[in-house]
């Protein structure tokens, strides 16, 4: 056991570094870490950047961050899984984020989400089988004045209904 652990660690590190060697995005990420002087308290900022570059946080990427920051992988994985913003699975081509804040909820956001779930057979937090659409929910995006709000690929749309939402998604698929 005592010898197995370091060996396993070396193997995974070797794989990660090989993975990283041919990819420019890892270089950008490393430059970003340097900007923060590889400080441990910048971990969340670095994970934000990693997700921005790669779209989601895969295991090798988390190992890379842990290795570079000299942090135990458990700490990096723990932080990545704690915060809702970090995605550990790849997302679909398009994302549709339905805000489920109170203001949106009392104005019918629940109907919007169930209409999408029904039409595209996708649960919230998941991606359709053809990888076209990821349906996500938000806990309030602070756009309560224009409730119910839905974010399509990063763009917030005001005063949505099940009909307008389905119409918008139809243009993607």
């Amino acid at each position: 056991m005592s010898t197995a652990l370091p060996k396993q660690k070396n193997e995974s590190l070797g794989r990660v570094m090989q993975h990283a060697s041919g990819d420019k995005r890892f270089k950008i990420l490393e430059a970003h870490m340097k900007k923060y002087q590889f400080r441990h308290d910048a971990l969340i900022e670095i994970l934000h950047k990693a997700q921005e570059l790669f779209g989601y946080l895969e295991d090798d990427l988390l190992l890379f961050v842990a290795y570079k920051l000299k942090l135990p992988p458990s700490r990096v994985y723990g932080v990545a899984t704690f915060y809702h913003f970090f995605q550990l699975k790849p997302q679909g081509e398009h994302t549709c984020v339905v805000c489920l804040g109170t203001a949106c909820y009392v104005k019918g956001a629940d109907k919007i989400i169930s209409s999408i779930q029904e039409k595209y057979k996708v649960k919230s937090g998941e991606t359709t089988a053809d990888n076209k659409l990821s349906l996500l929910t938000a806990r309030c995006i602070g756009a309560c004045g224009i409730a119910p709000a839905v974010t399509y690929d990063g763009h917030v749309a005001a005063k949505q209904t099940p009909e307008t939402t389905l119409e918008r998604i139809k243009t993607w698929i």
């Binding site: 441990h40 308290d41 971990l43 969340i44 804040g101 949106c104 009392v106 806990r139 004045g145």
Partner: protein, 550 residues
């Protein structure tokens, strides 16, 4: 940078102003309806109609009336006009209207109670200054309070002034700000920190987002004054990742303030140094709790820890830390400029000053309002908000988000202050006010909030981690009409247990929506209950033996 330099910038900026100012709201709400295109079109149209020399099209922050957006304001000959529901193609007629032309766009009324009953301190510059230009903020007297504090006041005097103002924390709990500042100032330690809590997680609240997007410098100035008062030289501004526009505007603001020597080393050429870094949240409601937020600033999982020690004694990296809400910091420059006594003259005996509320839900006039403390709830909901739309009745008002409660319509004459709302089983909270009409099912609302708390529980302490799940299951059982009086009694028992034994504010307040809806709308719960097949044997209810003797 000296005061003269500051005044010179202000003077230069004021004199370069044009006769007519067209203000385009470019905060997140209006941006979602193409406010950026509207601004571009207005600029192009002003040029096309030969008004380039007279008209300035300005990017401004939130004007408050978000439900009627996108909004365009016009300042012409000392009069203020307002256009509502503007579309990009309306630009030509709006510019033509400046010359007296016809315009079909809906005109807003700046004298409407929604605006007339407001009192602006925190949002004084919202919708007026360009959040991406520091000169705009300086031109209306920005950073003069910081200069005054640094050159004319001792740190203890600043704390004194804030104490005198009676300002209480705007994050929800209402702890006296002056007292907190005094504690941090007195705590021994060479290194101290300032943290601004912009992790506005309450669903239905967007006051902090709006302040950060519309007037980032007022927050930075407040933080700098606080740093001087307590002896800190490093500040962190924690903002939610869900607010990308606020983050980018803050980054611009910090950069501009550093360039002018208003932040960084030797502020106003005094020995005072103050740096601010932005920390971006990653979507965890519990990070609004101060100890969890500090863990997150340190790059860890955002889980709270027991207090004491309070952050004022041992906060970030074990150093004394002052942590205040965005809105609290936004009040500071006005208090220094106009004096604590002036501020203490506003509001009620125990709740001073103004409070910003996000008025949303089933109400005609959606948006952001700033009102003096002590104003009756009825004035906010009925006069400013215009009541419920579609001829429906207001049933209740939810304040304080998942930690607050539902106030029924019968209690609308309650004055809005910390104590009165607590007495009703709700809290002031950060300022979300969600109105519900008579079509709303209160049990569903309680379930909605419990689901929120269940998902957002960090899992550190058992009462919150397991208790919220059990309470949610019971509520689900009730809404599915499968529950009996026994389940309701169990729910009440759990509410009490979770409230009294949880580690942090999230768990301690998680039962509030259930408790308050049970208090005022118990009939709605009872209507869903099924007869108990085993008789009325349940917690607190009469036992069979007692029934037999009766």
């Amino acid at each position: 940078m000296q005061l003269d330099d500051l005044k010179a910038i202000a003077e230069k900026h004021r004199s370069s102003r044009k006769k007519i100012i067209v203000r385009t709201c470019m905060s997140a709400g209006c941006m979602s309806s193409q406010a950026d295109v509207i601004k571009k079109n207005l600029e192009a149209e002003a040029k096309a109609q030969g008004l380039e020399a007279d008209v300035e099209v300005r990017r401004v922050g939130c004007m408050g009336f978000c439900g009627q957006g996108p909004l365009v304001g016009v300042d012409q000959n000392g009069e203020h006009g307002l256009w509502e529901f503007v579309k990009p193609e309306d630009a030509p007629s709006i510019i033509a209207a400046l010359k007296g032309g016809e315009c079909k766009v809906q005109r807003g009324d700046p004298k409407h109670p929604f605006f007339a009953k407001q009192m602006h301190i925190v949002r004084a510059n919202g919708g007026i200054v360009d959040p991406e230009r520091i000169e705009d903020y300086i031109a209306i007297g920005g950073y003069e309070a910081l200069h005054q504090a640094l050159t004319e006041m001792q740190p203890a005097q600043v704390v004194e002034e804030v104490t005198k103002s009676g300002l209480r924390g705007r994050g929800g709990a209402g702890f006296p700000t002056g007292l907190k500042w005094g504690t941090v100032a007195k705590s021994p330690g060479a290194k101290k920190y300032i943290v601004c809590n912009g992790d506005e997680g309450d669903p239905g609240a967007f006051m902090d987002r709006s302040v950060l997007e519309s007037d980032p410098h007022i927050v930075l100035e407040g933080m700098a004054i606080a740093a001087y008062a307590v002896g800190a030289d490093q500040g962190y501004l924690y903002v939610r990742a869900e607010y990308p526009l606020a983050i980018s505007r803050l980054q611009i603001a910090i950069k501009q303030a550093k360039q002018l020597g208003l932040l960084g080393a030797g502020v106003f050429e005094t020995p005072f140094n103050f740096n601010v870094d932005i920390r971006i949240g990653a979507g965890a409601f519990v990070c609004g709790e101060e100890t969890a937020l500090m863990a997150s600033v340190e790059g860890k999982r955002g889980t709270p820890r027991p207090r004491p020690p309070f952050p004022a004694e041992s906060g970030l990296w074990g150093c004394p830390t002052l942590i205040n809400n965005v809105e609290t910091f936004a009040n500071i420059s006005a208090i220094i400029n106009r004096g604590g006594a002036w501020y203490a003259g506003i509001g009620t005996e125990k709740s001073k000053g103004t409070k910003v509320f996000a008025l949303t839900g089933k109400i005609k006039n959606n948006g952001l309002i700033e009102v003096p403390m002590g104003i009756p709830l009825r004035q906010i909901i009925m006069e400013m908000g215009g009541g419920a739309p579609d001829g429906r009745e207001v049933k209740s008002v939810q304040t304080g988000g998942p930690s607050g409660g539902c106030i029924p319509a019968d209690y609308l004459d309650t004055p809005v202050d910390y104590e009165s709302l607590t007495k009703l089983g709700s809290i002031m909270g950060s300022g979300g006010m969600v109105v519900m009409d008579d079509s709303t099912n209160m049990v569903e609302i309680a379930k909605f909030y419990m689901e929120f708390c269940m998902e957002e529980s960090c899992g550190k302490c058992i009462p919150c981690r397991a208790g919220t799940v059990q309470m949610f299951n019971l509520l689900e059982k009730i809404t599915q009409r499968k529950a009996t009086a026994r389940d309701l009694a169990k729910l009440e028992e759990l509410c009490d247990m979770v409230k009294n034994t949880s580690l942090c504010g999230l768990g301690q307040t998680a039962p509030n929506p259930v408790v308050s809806t049970l208090k005022f709308f118990r009939k709605e719960y009872e209507a869903l209950l099924q007869p108990d097949p085993f008789g009325p044997l349940s917690n607190g209810a009469a036992k069979p033996t007692e029934l037999a003797t009766k």
